[in-house]
Symmetry: D3
Subunit: 238 residues, 6 copies
């Protein structure tokens, strides 16, 4: 039995609320249970130096947690003067994940900056961030199309993410904080709408896992991400 | 006529939503029109070095803006590795304002850290932050009383804040962003529930103002803050 | 009775010594009693990015304290690798105050950087800095006129500053350190030569003050700043 | 045909040279072809704050590249004043990987710091670092046993790592730089001596990969890591 | 003929003004011509960690230049967030030089921090700083004796410094800025009152110098430092 | 008798291994006994701003120590976020020393960056770094000649360095760590192949030294550097 009473292959209640932020070209408040991440997409008509005059665009991401999004207060990174290794790791993951489904040549020589800010954390903030950011990104592209700056939305597919883990030896889908902090091993999966694997980050600090256990986690992720992609579709129809 | 259609002495629609954040000991989402600031209060059972073994407590504040809370994206301070002068100035103001109505000896040797994070900005973020933080602080104190750690809430009064300014020569209450960016002069007022002056920050970069104009602004602030204090009271009754 | 024996409305002995620094285009050593601030003005023939190709100029300020300007040694900000919130707050105040009396269009597309370095501190360093910086700025402008780079000094007025406070309930002018550290409330006033209000920063951490008390402080400031402006005039005649 | 002429399932020439560094308690120069990483293990008789008085130890890692280890010079992180996101990501990976095979309770309340410094880079620096660090760590533990500070080496298994990737659609083992920079997708695998999965980091920025392709990569990794573990054994026998 | 009209073996007019700073335990304004350095000595009743419980004391130094002490404005190190290599080099030199004449055991387990701040620069700031700091240090020790905290001043000798250089092939004493910026080679000498060599820093970026030339510079330094030591003695008698 | 058994005027076994690094335009592993420094030279076809459009080139250097190159682990400067004063001092010394024998006009408007990384330290790392860097620099210039980018190697002479010191009153050549840490005084000498003095850094923290002692050290340095220059010649012939 999971602490939340969910079945082993059951997501938390998920909502993706588009347009949460008034100023951003695209935005989405992603809620995976008590994990709430505000994702915004900001369009800039310039690219990083390595892409100048290539005709190609770029998508990059930054990630942060509000100091009291966590159970006990976490020091503010701006006040400490540097971002943690965990923050760097997560924002690089979000950027790579999104770029895997963007036609960078088709988006033109511009950059979209994604900001993922965790308003409340209860496990799985990076997977909620990726899932919500895809919606914010799609909305920003749609706006560029509406403005006549792009002919079509340069997305090749959906991308969404979920974490799975071994909790007392049982494979479960979409870990919340109590599960995450006691799991023997866990993995974050980023898959496309067609089921392609974009990123896998599996970690077994407590106890190495076997190939078959890993395949169980992957199967759970495929099921969960299928559901998340449907929720993304409904969010864009709203 | 003001851009928003408000009367010269009319606040924007204000809401103070207590308990917005699940983990914090006290929290409040302060909305002054399109300015939305999440205020949390975190209790720590230790004080800064200069207060150790004095029996007195401390209240301090930090402030930040989400990168896309603003009309165009603002660089993330955590990524830049330092907080701006404006941020320092604002968080010091919030801390001083709150401490002016706290009985530091009565709160015991503990610290409450206030975090004010701007989710969306449309002028007046620092005044919304002060007004909402007082609610978060009051809720955190109430929780300490409920836990038996304090005999009574060690607040001596309400404190709230509003900005006023001279827009094309006319004194108006509670500037929004279009007004703020074109005002001849403006002032932030922090007053207590009984009308005592806690902080005044008046600035006239464009055009010095006269003593009488300043008094007009103060009178508007007194009216507006009276209304804000009523909204704080209702928020705590909820 | 004040610790220094001064009357409630009496400034400390003030001197403004122009030309203290050999290399700067304008300089002034401002002494308010034992508070000594060296103010220099450096002319640069370029402006910050936001003003390029606008034809307008800019005046900005930096502030620092020598480590042993204070009663006990203060850590060197350069060694700590960052400036304090207080420093940021003060240097922004100095810059805004000076700009309020400069015709930025008339000064041409160049920048004047003011440096205010406290050689010795005894309360009121920011007000001494503003008062002395105006002299340094005026001298730098005069030099540009002498060099034929400007037709006239682009200053619209004097600007000077003083602090006032409530000491055991009595309003007094120009607080020194013993008064500053025990005042119930204090305010820094920045006024122009014609008496216009440029900046007011009133703070009542200990005890909120009433409108009438605030007006007493303002009246003292008007008197004191009138005297400071006379001293500025004599310094420029020297 | 691979650029290096290797078979698809062939490692580069690998050598693990123990005792390369005179001062460290354990050290190993790991060479995977032209990738050379110096790994040292330093014993400290104290632990991070979160472990004090728990009787448990800790293993942590830092990673760096010499500026001209790379094809073109990379800026020195010490001169830039911060470590890149990539560096943070890699050093966290090394630390987690090693801890997965250490009995932290058995090692006593002390810390071993691993430093992995890339003298020359040709792809796969993080996997060489993990593989070589295990040797350095084992040597440091052996020294503690020789000194009578530990009863036995507190390692539960070997741990080693290798990267695999899809190069023009073909799964290959142990990517060198020319392969790494053109692979469609690649994954780093960290496995134990008994074949348990400790870490998987799969990334498909160019082109998502399918479940079966991923399993091919895993099978290659299992073969390669089996060979690396044998080389580790021989290095310790030396 | 030197630009200043001085003889080749002539110092600039030198004055050492003790007690310039009201708050410091010891202070001295050192003027070597137009080079003006304010030196203060601050006593702290604690030592750096490596000296705790050894009964020995420490003397350390920091150095800074006011932004407009130089011919054109130099960026403020506190604003840049780091001290330059030159600053580090100079402050280490000052500290070592002073420690060479202090009996660290006799001064007790306390630290004296020297601050050397350049108010105006015209070449030779580091040598003026050393020469003036010795006076500040001696005054601080004298105060500790007066307070009964030390039995005697724990200085074993004077220490003073001067720069010499080859200007168009001629060895000259005490370079000013015009000479310093065109010298073929120059050297800073730090000698004790009895003529012992404490530090030599000779640099020949333009043109290597010969042993005999170097000995000429040393002879000039011996002459100049003899005179500086006399000026130090008179300053302490004042 | 020296701890190492060497004669007072005897260098440690020195080897200069050219081409140690595969990617750098020039490289050399300098070994002075147990002190091992990897020196690389990287050619960049651009110069620092102050040299743009002057037709002149530049040579600059950076220095670092691997954390466990030292007897006990030294914190990684990249992790601390700043380079120490000692590092700044050393890298400035290396750069100046090399530039003293480079014809900057003849090398064209390009920059060569020298990186000196200490793999193992046993005293004298800066002198080994200078001696090895000259070889790396010469190799990089030779490569530019081979590529037809330069007509001739723009070096005017050799430059090499060694430390000497007073150990229990006796002048000895090429201090190793046990000698360095107990010497009464020591000096680093940088001389050209023709015996010209480029840099002298003499320091006597423990005990001032006399002119004659200093001349003994210089004589030893002249002997040692003569030998080092021969080893440099042989390294280039290899």
């Amino acid at each position: 039995m999971r602490p939340s009473g969910r079945a082993f292959d059951q997501l938390r209640p998920v909502s993706l609320e588009p347009g949460f932020s008034r100023h951003a070209e695209g935005s989405c408040l992603a809620r995976f249970g008590d994990t709430h991440v505000l994702c915004t997409a900001s369009v800039e008509e310039r690219v990083p130096p390595f892409l100048r005059n290539t005709g190609k665009g770029w998508v990059t991401a930054e990630y942060g947690m509000l100091p009291r999004s966590t159970h006990t207060r976490t020091d503010r990174e701006a006040a400490k003067g540097k971002q943690s290794g965990r923050t760097h790791e997560i924002q690089r993951l979000i950027g790579r994940s999104l770029r895997s489904v963007v036609d960078l040549a088709a988006m033109g020589e511009r950059q979209i900056r994604i900001d993922c800010d965790v308003l409340q954390a209860d496990g799985g903030t990076r997977t909620a961030a990726i899932t919500g950011s895809w919606v914010a990104l799609a909305l920003a592209f749609r706006k560029l199309v509406e403005q006549g700056l792009l002919a079509a939305v340069p997305l090749t597919d959906h991308v969404a993410a979920v974490s799975c883990g071994l909790c007392e030896g049982v494979a479960v889908l979409d870990l919340d904080y109590p599960e995450d902090s006691t799991a023997w091993a866990d993995a974050n999966f980023v898959l496309t709408g067609r089921g392609g694997i974009v990123e896998i980050q599996g970690t077994a600090e407590e106890c190495p896992f076997a190939r078959d256990q890993f395949l169980e986690l992957l199967a759970l992720a495929e099921k969960g991400i299928g559901e998340l992609v449907e929720i993304q579709k409904r969010a864009l129809e709203a």
